[in-house]
Structure formats: structure tokens, C-alpha cells
């Protein structure tokens, strides 16, 4: 897709988010969460480009959120908590990635799931530290040194999420176009050939993995500061499933897909999740099956199809 067209679509999206948030106050919260999840899904998209899927990225989302929960009392400044969450999630990603980047396909997906499940049960069981399933309440931190009223704080979080979403969207777009991003696609097609060219597939995947963990941490920090209540549920497999779901729903073809998917998902969830609370995962599962089998390009692919362009690449 032409660069100009993608930029105008992105600008249209930003304007749409701001207009919707201005018109309907309750949407501010929903859109902030959607943008945060979109940032985390960008990480899933990077890995999908290498043909890998992680069923455990809730680990990074929740570590970002817990960094906020643990540090907010002593360091109540949103603009410091965000990079710290990114740094710590990135470090966890580096340690896990050194092990995980050796594996592909089934092993990669399942080992990610296993690590996140371990993290979840530690969060749940180490009650002294994490207060178990009760979770930790987060007081609204200052933003850029200012103690804001609640309404201004909600706006500030939305703007922070929006700026970060645009920033990380552009970063991922540039990353995918760079040699490192091209090598990711090489892992998917035929890894051995990559190695013959002197490129270490392991390092390529590790770099993408650490970046995805870092973005997961940022997303988690935004979620933690917005919901202001951090529980182990953020680390449960259902959260990872949600991220994968959004990635496939949005379409893995371009950096706008995750946000398209995330906003659609969160809006539908607000209306539908209450009505179908018991069957919510099942509905997600059915939609996931339908998208995979019948619309592999996701929403982004459909949009491109409508605009008469080449559909995005399937995951």
C-alpha cells in the first residue's frame, strides 16, 4: 500500500478517536484500553511476520501493569513509569527470548504459553508480594509533574496512548521495511536459506521478540494506569488469547491492522460482553475460526479489498 494512503488513513483514525472521545466521555476509557492493546498486538504482528505465534504475551502486558502497581506509590509520575515498564518488560523478554528464540512453531507458541502460565500462578500465589487475586489498586500518578483532576487524567491517558500508538505504529512499519524486518519474513519462508546468507535467524527473532515484549510492557503500563487496578487476570491465558485474537481480526498485513482490530474488539466487547459474559471466549473462538478460514487478511485485508487494493498478507 502506498505510503501516502496509509498516512492519511492513520491521520483519519487519530481524528476519529479524538472526535469520538470528545463526543462520548465514556468512550475515552474504552479507546485508551483499545489503543494500549493495539500497541501490544503490534508485537504479536512482528512475530506473526516470522510465522510464529505467541500464546503468552499476557506475560509482558501484566509485567508492565505490575511495574506500575509496584512503583506508582514511590514514583508517581506517568512519564517515568512508562519507560520503566518498557525497560523491565523488555529485560524479561530478553531473558525469556534467549531461550525461546531457539524454538519455532509449536514449541515457540506452547513455551510462551507455559512461561506466562507460570508467571500467572506466581502472581496469584505470592500473596505477600502481589496480594493474589485481590490485585493492587493504583493511585493516579502525576502526568509531567502535574496532579490532574480525574477528567483531565482520563484525557491525558488517552492522549499518551494515542501518541504512543502512532509512535510505535511508525516504528513497527519502519522495522518491517528494514533488513531486520525483511529477515523476519525470511524465517517464515525458509529459515535455512537465511542462515546460508550469513544471517542469524535466532538473533533476528530475538530482536523482534524483545521489541514485542517492550511494547507489551508499555501497553500493560497504560492499562494499569487507566484501569487503576492490577490483577493477575492480566497474565492469564485469556488475555494472551485476546491479543492473538485482535491480531488475526485486525489482520497481520500492516501496522494499522492491530489498532483497527483493537478498537473494533473493545467496542463490541463493551456492548456484547455483558450480554454474553458466560460465552464470551466461545464467541471469540468462533469468530477467530471464521476469520482464519474465510477472511485470512482480517479487517485490514477487507478494508484494502474495499479500497480496491491488493489484500494484506495472511498471517
Amino acid at each position: 500500500m502506498r505510503r501516502g494512503a496509509e498516512i492519511s488513513l492513520a491521520l483519519l483514525g487519530v481524528a476519529g478517536v479524538l472526535a469520538a472521545a470528545w463526543a462520548a466521555p465514556w468512550l475515552r476509557f474504552v479507546l485508551t484500553i483499545a489503543l494500549a492493546k493495539g500497541i501490544a498486538v503490534l508485537g504479536i504482528l512482528l512475530l506473526l511476520r516470522a510465522g510464529q505465534v505467541s500464546f503468552g504475551h499476557a506475560l509482558y502486558l501484566s509485567s508492565g501493569a505490575y511495574v506500575v502497581a509496584f512503583l506508582a506509590p514511590s514514583l508517581p509520575e506517568a512519564l517515568l513509569l512508562l519507560p520503566l515498564a518498557a525497560l523491565i518488560a523488555g529485560l524479561i523478554g530478553l531473558v525469556a527470548g534467549l531461550f525461546l528464540a531457539r524454538y519455532r512453531d509449536i514449541f515457540f507458541g506452547m513455551l510462551n504459553l507455559a512461561i506466562s502460565m507460570v508467571f500467572y500462578s506466581l502472581l496469584e500465589k505470592l500473596y505477600e508480594l502481589t496480594r493474589g487475586t485481590d490485585g493492587i489498586r493504583v493511585e493516579p500518578p502525576r502526568v509531567a509533574g502535574l496532579a490532574l483532576t480525574l477528567e483531565a487524567y482520563v484525557w491525558a491517558m488517552l492522549l499518551v496512548a494515542l501518541v504512543l500508538a502512532v509512535g510505535f505504529g511508525m516504528l513497527v512499519r519502519a522495522y518491517l521495511a528494514s533488513p531486520m524486518g525483511q529477515a523476519l519474513a525470511g524465517i517464515k519462508t525458509r529459515e535455512t536459506r537465511l542462515e546460508f546468507m550469513g544471517v542469524s535467524a535466532r538473533r533476528v527473532l530475538l530482536a523482534a521478540y524483545v521489541l514485542s515484549a517492550l511494547m507489551g510492557g508499555v501497553a500493560g503500563a497504560i492499562v494499569g494506569m487507566t484501569t487503576r487496578h492490577v490483577t493477575p487476570l492480566l497474565a492469564y491465558w485469556t488475555t494472551s488469547g485476546e491479543l492473538v485474537f485482535i491480531a488475526i481480526l485486525g489482520g497481520a498485513g500492516g501496522a494499522l491492522g492491530p489498532f483497527l482490530g483493537a478498537v473494533t474488539y473493545e467496542l463490541v466487547r463493551v456492548y456484547a460482553a455483558a450480554a454474553f459474559a458466560e460465552a464470551w471466549q466461545a464467541i471469540l473462538g468462533v469468530v477467530l475460526l471464521l476469520v482464519i478460514l474465510f477472511a485470512p487478511g482480517g479487517l485490514w485485508g477487507m478494508l484494502l479489498g474495499l479500497l480496491g487494493r491488493r489484500p494484506g498478507r495472511a498471517p
Binding site: L48, G51, Q52, V53, F55, F99, R102, Y103, D105, I106, F107, G109, M110, L111, L113, A114, I115, M117, V118, S121, L122, K125, L126, R190, T192, R193, F196, W237, G241, V244, I248, E278, A279, W280, Q281, A282, L284, G285, V286, L288, L289, I292, L293, P315
Partner: protein, 311 residues
């Protein structure tokens, strides 16, 4: 060290017995997961849900029969019957309805599809049985306990966990080895596992083998769940915990290894129950520590064979 051992000998003995019973259950799930992978080349993430649903179905059926005033021994029939029903219905539905469409697709797609199935089954289970714990320990109580001599002490342990669970697992292991090596159907399955194209060229109907294997694997998972149901209370989330644990067993053993799965199930089962007694907070971590330790030294698993790289 010696003093510590003496003090904790009883605990270790209990952990050993518990671990054996637990390993038997884990093996039942892992071996099905492994067989299905061997033939279909798909890791079924919904496999753990089949275990959970088998458990729920068995508990419900058992309670239902008991409420009708049928004799106690029908509780054991209920276990097997429930497993057969779950495997016999869900197996073909999943294989014919969904998996058949994605054979030969990219692995990432296959993983996503079975993950979607997992999401659906987890909720289906919650819709049918609710989120309240379900339990029926009649089959456990009926057999009473046995005093296991351990040094100077005796450990009272339920006969069900001591004999029935390891017994069934052992019978499954031996039966499966016999079935795969000595019967025609078994050899056909092995043939399809080794080289699907050559097997098809010899006139084997691979699609039938796929259906048969998947249904059988689903039945084994459900049987594992049914056998587990008297020893535990069933709660939501059991399916997720089971799939990651049985994957850990399969990965430790090496994908596609059946006898190896038995050994790594023992290793992980005993390791986990030792943690239950000695460091309960870290119970969930131990199986994965074992797995990671093995994979770091042998990436293909304890008994796995290195696959040749494609160029």
C-alpha cells in the same frame, strides 16, 4: 543433609506415591496429545479441555447414577462410559468439522485454529457445568485405603490412587505398544506417521486413519479426566493447566515418543508433587523447570530424534 532426609522421609514417601498417581493421569493426556501429533502433525491445544470435559462428564454421570440408587460399582462404569462418550462425540466432530480443513496448512494457522477450539470448549464447559466446583469422590472412597509400609512408618494411601490410576496408565502404555506394533490397524497408523505419501500410495486411506487417531486420542484425554475426577474437585481453568502440563511432558520426552512420554510423565509428576509438599508456592514452576533444563541440554527432548533441516 542426612538429618533433613530423616526428618522429611515421610513427606518424600507421600510425595512419591502422590507423584506416581499424578504421573499416571498426566501420561494419559500426554500420550494422546503425542499420538495425535504423530499422525496429524498438529498439536491440539484443545486437548486439555477434552481432559476437563471428560472429568466433568464422569462426575455428573456418576452422581446421576448414584442418585438413581444404582449399586456403587456402576460408578466405575460411569468413568469409562463418560470418557467413551466425550471422545466418541467430540473427537469426530472436531476432526471432521474443523481440523480436516487445515491439514497441510502453515503450522501457525493450525495452532491458531486449535487455540480457537480451546476457547470454545473452555466456555462450553463453563456453560454446561457452571463455575462452581464439581466433585464426586465415590469411586475413591469405595476402594478404601491401603497402609503402605515406608521404613518404620506406614503411609495410609487410597487404593484407587495406588492401584487403579497407575494400573490403567500401565495398561494403556502396554496396550498401545502392542496395538501399534502387532495389529494391522496399529501398523497402518505407524505407516501414516512415518510417511504419509508412501502409505497413501500403498492404498491406505489416510483420512480414515486421521479420524481414528484423533478420536482415540480424544478418548484417552477424556479417560484421563474421568479417572482424575474422583481425586480432585473440578474447577474452570483445569483444561488450560492440563494442556500446558501435558505439553511439558511431551516436549521433555520429545514429540512423537510414546514410551518416552511415560518416563517424562513420571519425572514431572514426582517432581511436581515433591514441590507440593516441600515448596507449595512453586508447585506450578517445577514441571517447567524440568522441561527447560532438559530442553537446554537436548532441544529435541530426552528421546526425540533430530529432524533433518529442509533447504
Amino acid at each position: 543433609m542426612a538429618g533433613w532426609l530423616e526428618q522429611n522421609a515421610l513427606l518424600l514417601g507421600l510425595a512419591l506415591l502422590d507423584g506416581l498417581a499424578y504421573a499416571a493421569l498426566v501420561f494419559m493426556v500426554a500420550v494422546g496429545l503425542n499420538m495425535v501429533f504423530g499422525v496429524l502433525r498438529i498439536i491440539n491445544i484443545a486437548h486439555g479441555s477434552l481432559f476437563a470435559i471428560g472429568g466433568y462428564a464422569a462426575a455428573s454421570l456418576g452422581l446421576f447414577l448414584a442418585a438413581r440408587g444404582l449399586p456403587d460399582w456402576t460408578g466405575y462404569v460411569a468413568l469409562v462410559l463418560a470418557a467413551a462418550l466425550v471422545g466418541g462425540i467430540l473427537g469426530p466432530v472436531i476432526e471432521r468439522g474443523v481440523l480436516r480443513r487445515i491439514y497441510g496448512h502453515e503450522q501457525v494457522l493450525q495452532l491458531l485454529v486449535t487455540f480457537a477450539l480451546f476457547m470454545i470448549l473452555e466456555d462450553a464447559q463453563k456453560l454446561i457445568w457452571g463455575v462452581q466446583p464439581v466433585s464426586n469422590d465415590a469411586p475413591l472412597r469405595l476402594l478404601g485405603t491401603v497402609d503402605v509400609p515406608f521404613g518404620e512408618d506406614v503411609i495410609p494411601f487410597t487404593a484407587y490412587q495406588l492401584f487403579v490410576l497407575p494400573g490403567v496408565a500401565l495398561a494403556t502404555l502396554v496396550g498401545l505398544a502392542w496395538f501399534l506394533r502387532r495389529t494391522l490397524t496399529g501398523r497402518v497408523i505407524v505407516a501414516v506417521t512415518t510417511d504419509r505419501e508412501a502409505a497413501t500410495a500403498m492404498g491406505i486411506d489416510a483420512r480414515r486413519v486421521f479420524l481414528l487417531t484423533f478420536t482415540f486420542g480424544a478418548g484417552l484425554a477424556a479417560l484421563g479426566g474421568a479417572l482424575a475426577s474422583p481425586t480432585t474437585t473440578l474447577v474452570p481453568g483445569l483444561g488450560a493447566a492440563t494442556i500446558v502440563l501435558s505439553f511439558a511432558v511431551v516436549a521433555t520426552a520429545g514429540l512423537g515418543q510414546i514410551e518416552g512420554a511415560a518416563i517424562s510423565a513420571l519425572l514431572i509428576g514426582i517432581g511436581r508433587s515433591a514441590a507440593v509438599y516441600l515448596a507449595p508456592e512453586f508447585e506450578v514452576v517445577v514441571p517447567y523447570l524440568i522441561m527447560v533444563a532438559v530442553l537446554l541440554v537436548r532441544p529435541q527432548g530426552l528421546f526425540g530424534v533430530v529432524e533433518t533441516r529442509r533447504v
